[in-house]
């Protein structure tokens, strides 16, 4: 009985705070402890208790397909560049100049604005040893932060959740998309994902009139609030033998699903309520990607206790007709991000938010015969926020033929140094247990 009461309390608590008044955003300690006990996790000193309004937030932005870094952060005064890019090369009058030799692609006015206002860091020449040119495999390497010849089962963000967020709410990680990216794979799976908040719910066939109860929905809720009521039944000897096999502290498979079912009910209510209640406070472009960022902004504004949001924009695999495609994508990316930053500023949340972009690889230095570029290696990353070390970080990689590796740009910065910097200085956790070894953290904030 006791358990049923605390469970009910948790649900009521989350409903009344997140959905109702915004008075109390900080979880009282006694309740936080109860929640962790409910999750069956041992209290862990590394655990980061996350609350709605104070923790830092990371937004990971995937540029899927392999963005041509060379035509994004452009060495417009470099002869090797123009020799390699007779058709695609961007001249000084086309780029948005950052300094005497480097400029942003002309479509990136949003980024230029962020750069000028001190909100943008450009990490130059990011990659990893023995680069892989397969989309599939290189994406996996970035998502799992593995060496290029090692296959990791879990993602770097998943390992962050495992290491630093035990007992946290499932909304600790939010993916706007249809599926969890590999970076979220974890020993104890966390994170929710949805592309349309209106579909992130139990669908009932009924259409009750106001004041009427939706009996299907009511039955669903009762059928799924059973968690813990039966937990005494399986507290016997069988748990000992089970615990070795289950990535959680004992218990039966159905117990885990019961907890997840309750999490689903609660987060579904939260997400839909926030999406309906919170208004965006900036004007975004009209694109699918912008829609995703608008949703992230709403969820942040609504106080969801999330530490990592994940959004992706596809289409960068520009083997042919690169000029038009990249123009469109980079404009969308920059304008959307600029609006997002304005939105965060208007909300008063900008100092809590850091955006990181990545792409599975850059493209070859030499353009191909089809007005495009093929799969390459190192490329820049962007870090956006109020507290970033703004400006150009690292060194622009050399394009001299003798400095290339099989025609590709060699990396100066291992992407895991960027991850390490973000984990240590932004998410405030040790990076070595998450990345498998100690990488020198690149101080991005």
């Amino acid at each position: 009985m006791q358990n049923e009461i605390t469970l009910q309390t948790r649900r009521e608590f989350l409903r009344s705070t997140v959905l109702g008044s915004a008075l109390s955003w900080t979880v009282p300690t006694f309740l936080a402890d109860t929640f962790m006990a409910l999750h069956g996790e041992a209290a862990d000193s590394a655990t980061q208790i996350v609350t709605g309004k104070d923790a830092t937030i990371l937004v990971v932005l995937q540029m899927a397909g392999g963005n041509d870094g060379l035509n994004t952060v452009i060495p417009y005064a470099n002869d090797y560049y123009h020799n390699a890019r007779p058709r695609l090369g961007q001249t000084v009058d086309k780029v948005l100049r950052l300094n005497g030799g480097i400029g942003l692609h002309g479509a990136m006015t949003g980024f230029k604005n962020l750069y000028d206002s001190g909100n943008l860091a450009v990490v130059q020449g990011v990659g990893y040893p023995n680069p892989n040119r397969s989309h599939f495999r290189s994406t996996e390497i970035w998502q799992t932060a593995s060496d290029s010849d090692v296959i990791n089962k879990y993602g770097w963000l998943g390992r962050y959740f495992d290491n630093a967020c035990a007992g946290a709410d499932p909304t600790i990680g939010v993916v706007v998309g249809r599926q969890l990216p590999e970076s979220f794979f974890a020993k104890t799976p966390k994170g929710i994902c949805f592309d349309n908040p209106q579909n992130y719910r139990f669908m009932s066939p009924e259409h009750p009139r106001p004041g009427q109860t939706d009996m299907t929905e009511a039955a669903y809720e009762k059928l799924n609030e059973n968690a813990m009521a039966v937990s005494d039944d399986n507290s016997g000897a069988s748990i000992g033998s089970l615990s070795a096999g289950m990535p959680m502290q004992g218990g039966k498979a159905v117990d885990f699903i019961e907890r997840t079912a309750l999490d689903a009910q609660i987060s579904s209510d939260q997400v839909r309520s926030i999406a309906a209640r919170v208004q965006n406070q900036a004007t975004y472009p009209n694109s699918g990607f912008a829609t995703s960022l608008k949703l992230v902004a709403k969820l942040i504004g609504g106080g969801l206790p999330t530490r990592v949001y994940y959004v992706s924009q596809g289409g960068y695999d520009t083997h042919t007709n690169q000029i038009a495609t990249q123009q469109r994508l980079l404009a969308d990316l920059g304008d959307s991000l600029k609006a997002f930053v304005d939105d965060m500023r208007a909300q008063g949340n900008l100092q809590r938010v850091l955006v990181m972009t990545f792409s599975e690889f850059g493209r070859r230095v030499n353009e191909n015969a089809n007005g495009g570029t093929d799969h390459g290696a190192a490329a820049p990353m962007f870090i956006v926020g109020n507290k970033v070390k703004a400006g150009l970080l690292g060194k622009y990689p050399s394009l001299a033929p003798q400095d290339l590796y099989e025609g590709d740009i060699k990396y100066n910065v291992d992407f895991r140094s960027v991850y390490a910097g973000i984990l240590e200085t932004w998410l405030n956790t040790k990076s070595a247990p998450i990345l498998g070894k100690q990488f020198e953290p690149l101080l991005v904030v």
Binding site: F136, I192, T260, N370
Partner: protein, 493 residues
Amino acid sequence: MLKPLSKDGWNYETAAHLLNRAGFGGPPEEIAKLTDLGHDAALASLLDYEKIPDSTPNPVWAVPDLGRAERLRAIQAMPPEDRRNAQQAEQRAQNQRIIELRAWWLNRMARGPRPFQEKMVLFWHGHFATSVEKVRDAYYIWRQNELFRRLGTDYWLRLLIEAGKDPAMLIWLDQAQSRKEHPNENYAREVMELFALGEGHYTEKDVTEGARALTGWSLDRDAQQFIYRPGLHDNGIKTFLGLTGNLGGDDAMAQIVKQPQAAVFITGRLWNFFAGLPPSAELNQVLADAFIENARCFKPFLRVMFASEEFYTPSVIRNQVKSPVQWLVGTTRMLQCDLPPGFICAAMLRSLGQDLFAPPNVKGWDGGITWITTNTLLERYNDAATLVQGMTQQLTASDFARKPGGPGGVVQEKAAERIHIGGLDVDKILTPEERADKGQLVASLQHRLLQSTFSNQQDQALRDFLDSRPKLNDTDIRNVVRLVMSTPEYQVT
């Protein structure tokens, strides 16, 4: 030694458990029939599938496409615009076949006469996890699937050698590119780490020496089959897992399978798949011993395993999270209804996290509780409504389009289409008496769908729903079935 299940341990519950795990479950009549057979005969009816005729025809395109390599070469030589179009057309054709192949296989699981054989194919697909995302040839993918069907319960050595020589694997782990000057170590490493021994049971030296031994295993892309190319083989002396000589690929595989750890590794994987949790070290050793006693042949080993008391302990029964495939196929078997159209099944499985022929990586699906996230759980609950209540809908071309940004998965590209899912035929699963009495109705559905019972609170929730309906029509009953499926309890087997 595994202890055989006692005579009185064999009953409806244990029979249902066997059918769920060694197959994909079934309706009460099928379980009752299995119970009546007795344990040994029940096992024989599942395991000795060679005696059951299976007349499922192969996909019409499941033959070597002898012109494909030539065609791909010709495409490479085309001017850019034509090349792009031709490549896309080629890929579309392959994608279409993969969609058909998924439906073909799911139908074998759901409707075919040999559920255990298909369960083994599913095990091996997850074990030798190979993705069409890289292989990009539906014939090769079908061939590998058929190999698992042919040798799935055979000798471990035979299967391991054949799986390594199969074209899909030769491409998937780059063995096709290996030559004596630059031995590619990918297959040598993964065959030990992921397929046969496990991490820590070989050295880096074994990887490089194994890769040398494997040189010569290659792919004849014109004939679309394995070829041994003596010119690519390293004829030097290698030392691999303690054996020294001018070793070839077959020798290396034999040396792997001979390792005591090999028996521990593969029986542990099998136990995990069928029992739903990894065995204790002690049980794992017992399983390995049984495997070696049975000449490292899967069929006799699995017969002993499925006959053992250990397989029917309470911590095993109803404690496995259903994989998406088990969930989908099992549902149609228990409810005696048809699978939805192939591309709907594929879309469901993809969003539930088990895109057949496109596992997330060479490690395959993690399985277990990782199948369940808040979104896949809600997805299961909502897919249950689609399966049970049926639907008729006009889809547009954009509904079929590949969603950008998401990982993997071949998606059908096609024009607008009207889809129809019939839904559940209520009278097929309920007697008039059960329909007339709410208590009997709830009991019957629990018996069929859970082979277990709900808590009192859950029972009451279903009764409250039924009481809110003055007269139970088919839609109401389908709704109750969907509610039973929308519970944590339905997600385990």
